[in-house]
Symmetry: C2
Subunit: 574 residues, 2 copies
């Protein structure tokens, strides 16, 4: 791990725009809708515009202070809806940033005070639905959608998903080619042009979600659904050794620079609460968490000491901070746990293990399952989306598609119906480890039992014998399941199964998953997805090297590889 | 590139056995059949045996001198068949190791003499079918197979493909699991046990080939066919700067260490002939070439100066050296060339471009097509297999599955029938660049028009925008087409489209393709393929780290990654 003082300069570095690229904005009709895109100026005068997850960081005209956070682009929209209220918020506790056994330590209090002081400007007054939790108010995008309201978020997303189409005519204009390359959507129904109304319909139907907590106004809205571009998630977590604002924010910025559409903060141990402030306030992408991780810290790591009360309090704590989606392992039901006993690799999900232990010790049903409607009440007061966790996902090809996995999946489908009854946005997490020939069944079962709620899979890894290369073993499965209808792919890094990913591992994982997602978009026939490939191919045919670098997913590596072996101009005509 | 004097120590390094591994031999019933496998001793006392492409190099009991070459394990079998004869061979010419414009240079003669002197012990007296080319003698494995003869090569392959099965019982014995994970062979018919008779039938039917030139007695026989394990090919080529025996052999040894099942020598420029001697004499895997590359050097790089006579002479030159398969672009027919004019990326195959230029300049049909039966006469006198090249393969997703590509494919099907009439073993090369949703059509068309002759594809790359990561973009396509029935996958390295691969790029490409091939084997339900994954998963569940490293495709990287972030023992229980 790099020392924290190295991160400030790194952060400056990751703010550099990509080669030949500028940030452009496409305005919407609603106030404040200005959708950022990356425009690449090619050497032949063409301009190519691509989807941009990197936020204001790659815009040199924006001055950013990570100790103050990003501009709240959504604040006026949230305010204008008039259905939320600012309030004092839950009272903060030392334990939010600590672990149980440290509570009595005076030193811990000092440490936390220092941490919080450093991030004082990042504290926002939380908002909630008017009347608070349980009062029946509902501020979810799904709730608006079902009332027929096209929110600014929805219009923003429609523009963002379409991208600019004018430059694509050069590439998508040949009728023979278009007919020959027409995608196979495998049941998806992607319109030629995404309208704000289409976004609304998809969200109302539950087929797509817009993770957008009202306490995360810094967010550039994005959508997760099978009729939109396939998205990817990258995971980050606090360092075991030390934390600084710069370090944590730099990890985030690095992830979104290379294409992370959402980022999950999987921090454990100390400083969880304050680190989360740092991340959310500086994040233009949705942030997801697994709240049971923090709850477990609060009970000193003893799973059986968890309770609904501690968990509920943690949900509110994180909802107030602005987390956009929660992984909730409510499908790990007591009657399913014995189904894992004959498995090759038992229960490998951390959340799944924690809850299985709790259920077995108390011989009681999972409290996330029994309190599910209460969780919905919290979610709808802040617009936090569910990511229903697959705590019984297979940890090896040997355990793929077994009864434990599918029993849980069917339960997640039941829970989806309950969430939808509350107009709470919901996606479903999926495996994990699945050989290629069993992938389609995962998608089929998910579509059938979860009623087309967006699927969000980890890989899946297609084989088990590639430690050190699991980003590749899983990119194969990810590309396939993305084509079949999975809406978001959770990345896997080369360090999977071996250790903690460093900066380069994170990048390797993200690029592998951008490849998988893009391959899926092209196979599905996502409108315009192929144009960038065609622009690349034309640049290749015409030996325009600079344009090839700029159009690639990783211009730096492409240029470095080229120069390494073919530094001379004459070699550029290989 | 490393200087040549660095390669001798590197070669020593690549001779190191893999961790916890020893070379074991399984005997057959025929004389001299001793099939090498790699046995991994796990820390729990289990022994896992895996397919081993690395040859005697990973056997510390074998002393190897690259200036003398490997032991000729097949020599007695070839001799015993009594249908071949040693002969003086084609007279060598300075041009074999040079390029046309250098011929008059006295310095060139000196250089070549020195090169050849260095490799004097690698010169073997060539053999051919009794009576020589065109006399009707036929020494191909297909010819024997069709006569009902089970050769030692066939028995060797049957044993090699089965592997040892006893250790697998632990992993493949659960009926519920076996039923759940049963492969989907997509039309392949893979028996539970591969018998020598089955190998014979598949070769007789043309559904599999055994590339095994009678002048390559050092070969450890292997098979390429859809009813066997999916194989991979790695490409090597001489260095532009300098050549030494150690350097060229080290590239080969490095490639087969990581799992290259065959290696193509794509050398161009100087020293081609002698470099090939070095490679073939030291190679336990089949070596393929593209003879038109050398023929082009002989005419000074001017495609239109090529002639059937020069090409024919080059085929004989290489057949005498022991090349096991030739890429022959006989399907690039004159009437197809205009079909490429509307393409995004025209003709990208080097061989395809050379022949298209020749055809257009002379406005004549491709001489490889018009002389195809004469080529068959050469192939059957040495048992060189055809790899019918797809000179019109698409160079971008935009050009995938177009009429130029499929017109050539149908021609390759016609040529396959002609080759089979001569009992010449034949496989068919395929793309290249194909989006996921168009891959199945490639396999379907190939099976239909080429009568199940083995398919040998380059990737295919599923997207075009990943320069620097094309090994990943193509491993996705390779895994899918492997599952669908492709018999061998030609690797792509991270330097594809950018420059020349170095040592690490070669390894990255090979590992990505081992992943793709193994994922395909598991999806097809290749018997026993899953057992190694299960052994890995069990080791994972039991935190046996050393066993995880040893069972992985790349033990060195897995261990290094583990130790990098989790060096302490306590961390090994993550």
């Amino acid at each position: 791990m790099n020392a924290p003082d190295k991160f400030a300069p790194l952060l400056t570095l990751t703010r550099e725009p990509f080669p030949a690229s500028t940030k452009v904005f496409v305005p919407g009709t609603q106030a404040g809708v200005q959708v950022p895109m990356r425009e690449i100026a090619l050497t032949n005068g063409e301009r190519v515009t691509v989807y941009d997850t990197s936020g204001p960081y790659t815009d040199p005209t924006v001055s950013i202070d990570v100790r103050k956070g990003l501009a709240p682009v959504r604040a006026a929209w949230i305010e204008a809806r008039g259905d939320t209220e600012a309030y004092s918020g839950r009272e903060r506790q030392a334990l939010d940033d600590g672990v149980k056994h440290e509570v009595p330590d005076a030193h811990a209090a000092e440490r936390i005070a220092a941490l919080r002081g450093e991030a004082a400007a990042l504290q926002r007054t939380p908002r909630r639905a008017k009347g608070g939790i349980g009062a029946g108010a509902n501020v979810t995008q799904m709730h608006y959608a079902r009332q027929g309201i096209v929110t600014p978020e929805m219009e923003y997303i429609a523009i963002r998903e379409n991208g600019k189409r004018d430059w694509m005519r050069e590439y998508l204009g040949d009728p023979e080619r278009e007919a020959r390359l027409r995608g196979n959507p495998m049941g998806a129904r992607i319109p030629e042009i995404i309208t704000p109304e289409f976004v609304r319909e998809e969200v109302a139907r539950g087929r797509a979600i817009i993770p957008a907590n009202i306490n995360h106004p810094e967010l550039e809205p994005m959508i997760i659904g099978r009729n939109f571009g396939v998205k990817i998630n990258a995971n980050i977590g606090n360092s075991a050794v030390t934390s600084s604002i710069e370090e944590e924010v730099e990890k985030l910025v690095w992830s979104i620079r290379w294409g992370g559409d959402t980022v999950m903060d999987l921090s454990t141990g100390k400083n969880i609460h304050t680190t989360r402030d740092w991340i959310v306030r500086n994040s233009p992408v949705p942030i997801g968490t697994v709240p049971i991780y923090q709850a477990l810290e609060k009970v000193g790591g003893v799973a059986e000491d968890l309770s609904w009360e501690i968990f509920r309090d943690t949900l509110i704590e994180q909802a107030e901070q602005g987390i956009d989606y929660f992984t909730i392992h409510a499908g790990v039901r007591l009657p399913f746990i014995h189904l894992t006993t004959k498995r090759r690799t038992g229960i490998v999900s951390r959340g799944g293990s924690i809850l299985a232990k709790w259920c077995i010790t108390h011989h009681k049903e999972n409290f996330l399952y029994t309190h599910f409607e209460e969780i919905c009440e919290i979610m709808k007061a802040y617009d936090v989306s569910f990511s229903l966790g697959d705590g019984l996902r297979p940890g090896s090809g040997a355990d793929a598609n077994d009864e434990a996995q599918f029993a849980e999946l069917r339960t997640l489908g039941e829970l989806t119906q309950i969430a939808w009854k509350h107009d709470v946005q919901t996606m479903i997490e999926g495996p994990g480890h699945v050989p290629m020939h069993l992938i389609q069944a995962n998608m089929d079962e998910q579509l059938k039992h979860c009623h087309e709620a967006p699927f969000y899979t980890l890989g899946p890894l297609t084989i088990d014998i590639a430690p050190g290369y699991d980003h590749i073993a899983s990119a194969i499965g990810a590309a396939m399941i993305g084509w079949m209808g999975t809406a978001m792919l959770c990345y896997v890094t080369p360090k999977e199964h071996l250790g903690l990913p460093d900066r380069d591992d994170v990048k390797q994982g993200i690029i592998a998953y951008k490849i998988a997602a893009h391959a899926a978009d092209i196979a599905k026939g996502h409108p315009g997805a192929r144009a960038r490939d065609d622009a690349m191919s034309k640049a290749r045919f015409e030996f325009r090297w600079r344009d090839q670098f700029a159009l690639g997913l990783d211009p730096d590596t492409a240029e470095a590889y080229h120069d390494e072996t073919l530094p001379k101009d004459s070699s550029k005509e290989a």
